[in-house]
């Protein structure tokens, strides 16, 4: 079962442009979504994740024309999230050429959305997102939605199991307090959730280096590593530069 590690750029859409946030706040403009997709095509990224961070907070539908444009251009699998609340929307987004639809807020409010979406487009195309935050002492993990503004009842552990039972095909763990900090993934949480579900998991939030991403994917079976800052900023002054490791850079990274 030696699947190639999945290293996934995670792109955030805000006001029609791409941004990168820090701890889910302070969006910094980093470029045009279509242009970014073209660059990641050239760099042969494993997969792309695009999250519209306005849709839910503005209470609006997903931007179907943007999704269609990106899906048409994208020569790698695409996961879209943001503002999805009904199975019809999931169906429509898949029909636009998106492989996976990520649902956070609406799925956690009502897991039957996961069930009914999976029965229409197949489990493999429904991803459930848990936005997680640790308490001030770095101990307890809470789960949130609406871009971190709303606390969800239940532990990450039980919500992950419920999502799997409802028919989700993937679990995305998005760490709010590590977002944009490049301070490392929340590995204890990854290990805990890996042990309680069989689903593929994608982790995002905190990626510090390609090497760390490779380590996470090799230590935890069925875990993919996604990153925002790492793929759009370069150097300590965080100059905007879209980048992605070449196949030889990936194979020569020290592991362990």
């Amino acid at each position: 079962m030696s699947l190639r590690p999945r290293l996934i750029p995670c792109l955030l859409v805000h006001n029609g442009g791409l941004v990168k946030t820090t701890r889910f706040a302070d969006p910094k403009y980093v470029g045009d979504p279509l242009n970014a997709v073209r660059i990641f095509n050239e760099k042969r990224a494993d997969e792309l994740m695009v999250l519209d961070i306005d849709a839910t907070s503005q209470g609006r539908e997903p931007n179907y024309s943007l999704i269609a444009t990106l899906a048409r251009e994208c020569r790698m699998p695409l996961c879209y999230g943001g503002g999805v609340t009904t199975p019809d929307q999931v169906d429509r987004i898949v029909s636009l050429g998106v492989e996976k639809v990520a649902i956070a807020t609406a799925a956690l409010a009502d897991l039957t959305l996961v069930e009914s979406s999976a029965s229409r487009v197949g489990s493999q195309s429904v991803a459930v997102v848990l936005e997680t935050r640790r308490d001030a002492r770095g101990q307890l993990v809470s789960v949130h939605s609406r871009r971190g503004t709303q606390r969800i009842d239940g532990s990450a552990h039980s919500l992950a199991q419920q999502a799997e039972k409802a028919g989700a095909g993937e679990l995305v763990i998005n760490s709010i307090d590590r977002d944009g900090t490049m301070s490392g993934y929340d590995e204890p949480l990854i290990a805990e959730l890996r042990a309680c579900v069989n689903l593929p998991i994608t982790v995002v939030g905190g990626a510090s280096s390609v090497n760390e991403m490779l380590k996470i994917t090799s230590r935890h079976q069925g875990v993919a590593a996604a990153a925002g800052s790492l793929f759009v900023f370069k150097g300590k002054y965080r100059a905007v530069l879209i980048q992605y490791p070449t196949p030889s850079e990936r194979s020569t990274q020290p592991r362990g």
Binding site: R44, R75, V121, G122, Q124
Partner: protein, 206 residues
């Protein structure tokens, strides 16, 4: 010339965009009358088996593609669930498949210790060619993107064109005569996918 059968599941625009760039003429067909005569057919698919079959039947595309394949030997490429519906049926649903290839579609866990298998099979994996075929020319050990929980179990072993290992080996590319199915997503597999689609575009009716 390629006609992509658009039954509302699967990435039609990714295929048309890719063929446009390659300079291969292609069109999408939502109903039988839109199928360009003499063109090779692609049956894309992302989704559940029954949903795919219901939409294929309702649009009339199921009958039309069966006629094209059996009467004129038109090459057809089924992708992902578009491959699965080429078989007689699936454990994922209750609908009958198109029956163009003998065999069924079963859950990935069925033949290899399912309990420890992380499903769906999601990510980049390699294909090993088991039977020489124009569609896989130049693609031994090539990497493709997979996303699925069910797999084909062809009734005839020599319908397996390529295998992929996940837990155990399963048929990732199948085919007989003009009928070809790929479990992976060539439209999302960078240059190995482009090569496979070019190979298919070059096939002609029997």
């Amino acid at each position: 010339m390629i006609t992509i059968l658009d039954f509302g599941l699967g990435n039609v625009s990714a295929f048309t965009g890719l063929f446009d760039r390659l300079g291969v003429r292609c069109a999408a067909a939502k109903c039988p009358s839109e199928i360009v005569p003499g063109s090779n057919l692609i049956l894309p698919g992302v989704g559940a088996f029954d949903m795919a079959m219901e939409r294929l039947e309702k649009s009339g595309l199921a009958e039309a593609l069966k006629a094209a394949v059996t009467q004129t030997g038109t090459p057809i490429l089924g992708v992902c669930v578009g491959m699965q519906v080429l078989f007689e049926g699936s454990d994922e649903g209750n609908c009958a498949g198109l029956g163009l290839l003998p065999g069924r579609v079963v859950h990935m866990g069925e033949d290899c210790q399912g309990a420890s298998l992380c499903l769906p099979h999601l990510g980049w994996n390699t294909i090993s060619i088991r039977k020489s075929h124009p569609v896989v020319q130049g693609l031994d050990d090539a990497e493709f993107y997979f996303l699925h929980s069910y797999r084909a179990r062809p009734a005839r072993a020599d319908d397996v064109i390529a295998g992929t290992s996940y837990g155990c080996e399963f048929p990732s590319i199948v085919g007989r005569g003009p009928v070809i199915g790929v479990q992976c997503h060539p439209e999302k597999s960078h240059e190995s996918g482009i090569r496979l689609l070019q190979n298919f575009a070059g096939m002609s009716s029997a």
